[in-house]
Structures are given as C-alpha cells and as structure tokens.
C-alpha cells in the first residue's frame, strides 16, 4: 500500500509550509525563521486552525454562560457579584426553596 506524500510537507520544522523556508542565524547563532515580508505573504494554516478552534471554544463558552449550565458552580459564577461562595454552595445543595404554608 502506497502513501502519497503531501505536497506542502509538515506544518512545523524546517520543511514546513510557510511563507519561507530555512532558518537564518544571527551573529550570536540564534536561529530565526527566514520569513520574507511582502504583500503576498499568507497567514499560515496553523494560525487559521488555531483561531478557528479558539473561536469555537469562545462560542461554546458563551452558550454555557447564556444557558447557565452547571448551576452556581458553572462558569456563570464568574459574572456574578462577589457574594459568599459557601452560602451559594449551601443553597445549591439544599435545592429549591419550599413554598411557605
């Protein structure tokens, strides 16, 4: 079974598909990617994936905030006033208040 090699190579390392290839060492031998600035310079794929994942996670968190999932221990507690957490714990553990007879 043959595996076809990807045309661009790996996203990381010296052979990665980026705007430039190879690394440039400065006078102290500090290796730095040899990226060339220009109008046609594209944003690397890993950055796009990174931003996409971050956006999805942010939307998920926003949904959790809006729906109040998790009760008083959910992420919504970060938005509330700085009340006593222990009293909130007790209220949550005791459940809904019973109506007065």
């Amino acid at each position: 079974m043959k595996f076809r090699r990807r045309a661009g190579g790996p996203a990381f390392g010296p052979g990665g598909r980026g705007p430039a290839r190879g690394r440039q060492a400065d006078s102290e031998g500090y290796a730095e990617p040899l990226d060339v600035a220009g109008p046609g310079r594209a944003v690397p794929r890993w950055v796009k994936v990174f931003v996409l994942v971050a956006a999805v996670l942010a939307i998920l968190l926003l949904v959790v905030f809006m729906t109040g999932f998790g009760g008083p221990h959910g992420p919504g507690r970060h938005l509330g006033a700085p009340s006593d957490q222990l009293s909130t714990d007790v209220a949550w553990a005791q459940g809904p208040a019973l109506p007065a007879r």
Binding site: A11, F12, G13, G16, R17, G18, P19, A20, D26, S27, E28, Y30, E32, P33, D35, V36, A37, R41, V43, P44, W46, V47, F50, G70, G71, H73, G74, R77, H78, Q85, L86, D89, V90, W92, A93, Q94
Partner: protein, 186 residues
C-alpha cells in the same frame, strides 16, 4: 572613533547575551514549574474527589496551599518572564504568530487561574467549617468537579503553550527591522 564604537558594541554584546539567556532560563523554569504544579494540584483534587472526611479535608488544604504558594506565583512569573524574554530576543513579542499565540494563551490561563483562586481557597477553608453544621457534601462534590474541569483545561492549555514554544511554527506577523549595521552597509 570607529574603533571605540566597535569596541563598545563588542563589549555590550556578551551582556546582552547574558540577559537573553537569563530571561529565557527564568521563563523556562517558571513555565515548566507551572505545568508540574498544576499536575500536582490536579492529582490532589482527583484523590480528594474520591475520598471523604478528614482525608479529603487535608487534601483540599494541600491543594489550596499549592495554589496560593506555588501555582499563582509561577503563573505570574512565567507571564512576566515570557514578555521580558521575548523583548530581549530576536523573536520579539508581536513579530511571530507563535509568540503572540503563547502570550494570548498564557494570559487567558492566568486570568482563569486568578478567577479560580477564591473558590479554591474557600474549599481549603471549608473543612474547618465542616466541624459545625456546614455546607452539604453535595456542594463540595460539585465544587470539586468545577476544579477538575478548570485544572484539566488549564493543563491542556499549558501543554499547547509548551508545544508552541518548543516547535516554534512558522509565520511572521511583521518582519524584523534591519539592524543598524545593515542600514549603514546599504
């Protein structure tokens, strides 16, 4: 005059290198320590969630101490040393995507940690209150679950930050300005 300038530049070069290496060493120490401390915290909370009574109380006190005395100082030191290290290195702070991604993730992780500090310290103090009729164990279990989620997520973020720092994926936001010597040569 040229000789004096060259000598001055050559004399300042080792000190710049020392500053760069020192900042990088401090940053690596703080960051790796942060990962290890979060791992220790996570293990304490995992064991605490499976036990009850005095053992759970002791584990929660230990988790609170680890957070207050180790994790928070290391997180702040890692953030500050990372910014300093990038500023004195050729990578820059906003020159490469991977540095900016690391800074963003570190900032988010530090903010979430500081938001979680109060609940963690309160859980550590809770066993004292448990002597009297106090919070129900159900509340403690849900609080522990919250800590597990936050600590687990934080550990994942820290691993991603470490991978970014080691692999240094390509991508330049803005090019490095040519050095003064290069401009003179032109």
């Amino acid at each position: 005059m040229t000789d004096v300038g060259t000598t001055g530049a050559a004399a300042s070069r080792p000190s710049r290198r020392v500053i760069r290496k020192t900042a990088l060493t401090a940053h690596v120490l703080c960051s790796v320590g942060w990962v290890g401390a979060v791992g220790a915290f996570l293990s304490l909370v995992v064991v605490a969630s499976t036990t009850i009574g005095a053992k759970r109380a002791a584990l929660l006190v230990a988790a609170a101490v680890v957070t207050q005395a180790v994790i928070v100082p290391l997180a702040l030191a890692s953030t500050v040393s990372g910014v300093l290290s990038s500023l004195v290195s050729p990578w820059g702070l906003v020159r490469h995507y991977w540095v900016l991604a690391k800074l963003a993730l570190t900032s988010v992780a530090t903010v979430v940690l500081l938001l979680q500090l109060r609940p963690i310290l309160e859980l550590g103090a809770q066993p004292v209150l448990d002597q009297a009729p106090g919070p129900s164990p159900t509340a403690t279990v849900s609080s522990l679950l919250s800590l597990l989620v936050h600590a687990g997520g934080g550990l994942v973020v820290l691993v991603v930050i470490t991978i970014l720092g080691l692999w240094k994926p390509r991508g330049q936001i803005r090019p490095r300005r040519p050095s003064r010597s290069t401009q003179t040569a032109r």
